[in-house]
């Protein structure tokens, strides 16, 4: 983690999780934040949000990860949940076809409710359940593409598209394995095609084995604009970001005596 080499700025980013109940939203985050997995996680209780840092070549992205706290179950998520989210991870279960349909509905909801520049990643979880694929996809690790995040930041609108089109290594790795197992109900091609169409990042991952989990968050991090830009879409109605550097800074107040004492560590 922290080898503080010079002035590396940390961009704080709110990331929201979405997806049908029991697809493994919390497990993905547990894997990402504490590199841990529990076979029988009870439905999310007690955590307001977790934080985890993601180190890129030239900057650090600090995710503030919001879990649904079960409020998605009866479609009762509050608008506050989406508010100021810069990234969303929409999860489905590759062994359950209906969960992809649900994921598509969440993507629609995000496009309606959330910040128009939000980076959305579609994630097919439970890759471990479809046997040998998982091994294949973990292999190409090595944080390769941290190259040009600065350039990406400039492009803003088409960000997601650009990066989703040549999806990260995993995609190419395991295409042929689908037939080899019966549990899989959503083919990679189908989900990938939808992701391209809807301009989403796309990964198949396993919270259980850890396959593609850090890749997922790294890719999202790279797609987050470097600075909260002063472009119209982001500026309007997005006044106070949670970052220390709020623009205007006029009369915003901090109620807590302590504050910012959130949980989590960093990678």
């Amino acid at each position: 983690m922290s080898n503080e080499d010079g002035p590396v700025k940390a961009t704080q980013v709110k990331l929201v999780l979405l997806g049908e109940a029991a697809v493994g939203k919390s497990s993905l985050v547990m894997r990402f934040c504490s590199n841990d997995f529990n076979e029988n996680t009870s439905p999310t209780i007690g955590a307001a949000f977790l934080t985890q840092k993601c180190r890129l070549e030239n900057r650090i992205v600090k995710f503030e990860i919001w879990d649904t706290a079960g409020q998605e179950r009866f479609h009762s998520l509050a608008p506050m949940y989406y508010r100021n989210a810069a990234a969303a991870v929409v999860v489905y279960d590759i062994t359950k076809a209906s969960s992809l349909e649900k994921a598509k509905a969440w993507v629609k909801e995000l496009q309606r409710q959330a910040n128009p520049n939000i980076v959305i990643a579609l994630v097919g979880n439970k890759l471990d359940l479809v046997s040998d694929e998982s091994g294949a996809s973990v292999a190409p690790k090595s944080k390769p593409a941290a190259e040009e995040p600065a350039n990406e930041a400039e492009e803003s609108e088409t960000d997601a598209e650009d990066d989703a089109t040549p999806p990260p290594p995993a995609t190419t790795a395991a295409a042929g394995d689908d037939s080899s197992d019966s549990l899989r109900q959503v083919s990679k091609e189908e989900a990938d095609e939808y992701a391209k169409e809807a301009k989403l990042l796309f990964f198949e991952a396993s919270a259980k084995t850890g396959a593609n989990v850090s890749e997922l968050f790294t890719e999202i991090a790279k797609n987050i604009p470097d600075e909260t830009p002063t472009k119209p879409a982001a500026a309007q109605g997005q006044a106070g970001r949670r970052n220390g550097a709020r623009q205007g800074a006029d009369s915003g107040v901090d109620l807590g005596e302590r504050q910012q004492g959130k949980k989590g560590g960093c990678c």
Binding site: A48, A69, S76, G261
Partner: protein, 451 residues
């Protein structure tokens, strides 16, 4: 829905959401339902489309150039948060502050003799205030000094007044304060809505003035803070707290009946043909017959205690005389305009992410005294300048007829005409006491240590 809950909460207004959150944290199994498909009930904030739909059953009119729908969050109930008040304490203790961002309201004003002035809240400000003449300033200064130095345990600081026994009138008399000064102290600082307080023991008024001055001292410009994106964020934040501690949320559920057993005690609620069982129910008055004709044999659970008129006004300029403030509160003390109850104006703007650029939302409110309430608020409307559009509502206020301990049906109160949330929190404490049979003690949630 064959699970059984400890508590069903009906309505997602702020009072209900705070209670739901606190009960979930306490380990109760909570089911929280609302008939609407959005959070907040009466304490929701609406976008333009929802606002026009609610009041006019049409869309926003194009030629007003109000800007984007989604930039709006118009409160239905105008209230601000006293920055040293009970709601702030509750927000901090439950750690709900982490979901919200707050801004200070830019100014607090009081109306006197046809114009508005800043409310002085320290002896320094009192000395500079145009509200008082030279000699009155000295007297006011003495009064504020007295309050500042007053200590419960030190009788020397009481200067011969027992504020637990003597009336506020006695206090005013001791310092020789004029009627106009009494108006702003009692109404713009102690925030009483009428003059009943004058003959009552001074203690309550003194406490309220101290709360005001402490709140004022906290962030400077005014004693109030306000959440970005509108008050509707508050119930959502407490609902999330509840959900995080296991509370189950169902919106868009019409409640067909609140069921009681043969012993008259609550058994469950029926929604969409399904019945959910629970030991207790908490809800806002609208779920217990408020405003409806009583079915024969039905029990009267809520009564009307008064009416409030509220006028939501859209402006394209700050309120005149407020130094271009992005937000403010103006209090018109009742005596100044020959009324029994004060008139309030609460104004917010794009600075709080509740309106498009250069649009101000000013809400005028007061307790209805006559049969033509719209005429009652004219003195306030005249202070606003040109009003682009105006939405007026006259809302009855309801209170429960019984504490609910006999039948396990616990009903909250409607949001009153006060300018702040102190009475809302009082209601939370009161309902908690009724539901749990013990006093609510706010414990700080343990915060995990930073890794």
């Amino acid at each position: 829905m064959d699970e059984e809950y400890d508590v069903i909460v009906l309505g997602t207004g702020l009072t209900e959401c705070i209670l739901s959150g606190l009960l979930s944290v306490d380990g109760q199994k909570v089911l929280h339902m609302d008939r609407n498909d959005y959070y907040g009930g009466d304490s929701a904030s609406l976008n333009l489309t929802q606002l026009y739909q609610k009041f006019r059953q049409t869309g926003p009119s194009e030629n007003l150039n109000l800007g984007r729908d989604r930039d709006y969050a118009v409160d239905l109930i105008p209230k601000f948060i006293l920055s040293s008040g009970e709601l702030t304490r509750m927000l901090v203790h439950t750690d709900v502050t982490r979901y919200l961002e707050f801004k200070v309201i830019a100014g607090s004003y009081v109306y006197r003799d046809g114009k508005i002035s800043k409310v002085p809240s320290t002896e320094m400000e009192a000395v500079r205030s145009p509200l008082m003449g030279l000699f009155e300033k000295r007297r006011a200064k003495n009064f504020f000094q007295y309050l500042q130095n007053w200590k419960e345990e030190d009788p020397a600081t009481h200067q011969g007044l027992d504020i637990n026994k003597c009336s506020m009138k006695d206090v005013y008399t001791k310092f020789g304060l004029e009627a106009g000064t009494q108006d702003f102290i009692g109404h713009a600082m102690a925030l009483w809505l009428d003059d009943d307080y004058i003959t009552k023991p001074a203690r309550a008024t003194v406490d309220r003035i101290i709360l005001y001055t402490q709140s004022m001292a906290r962030y400077g410009k005014s004693p109030y803070i306000y959440p970005l994106y509108g008050l509707g964020e508050l119930p959502q934040a407490f609902a999330r707290l509840s959900a995080i501690y296991g509370g189950t949320y169902m919106l868009d559920k019409k409640i067909e009946s609140v069921n009681v057993g043969e012993d008259g005690k609550f058994t469950g609620v029926t929604s969409a043909g399904e019945t959910v069982k629970a030991k207790k129910v908490i809800g806002d008055p609208s779920y217990f017959g408020a405003g409806q004709d009583l079915e024969s044999g039905g029990k009267v659970r809520v009564i009307e205690t008064g009416k409030v008129i509220r006028a939501i006004c859209l402006l394209k300029h700050p309120i005149p005389g407020t130094d271009e403030a992005d937000s403010c509160q103006i209090i018109i003390p009742q005596n100044q305009v020959g009324r029994k109850n004060d008139i309030y104006i609460a104004a917010v703007s794009s600075a709080h992410n509740v309106a498009a650029q250069n649009v101000w939302i000013a809400i005028v409110s007061t307790i209805v005294e006559t049969s033509v309430p719209e005429r009652e608020i004219l003195p306030a409307l005249q202070l606003l300048g040109n009003v682009l559009d105006k939405f007026v509502s006259i809302t009855p206020l309801y209170s429960p007829t019984s504490p609910g301990t006999a039948d396990n049906i616990y009903i909250t109160k409607s949001y009153d005409a006060t300018s702040h949330f102190e009475t809302v929190v009082e209601d939370v404490f009161d309902v908690w006491q009724r539901v749990k049979g013990e006093k609510l003690v706010l414990k700080k949630r343990e915060v995990e240590v930073e890794a």
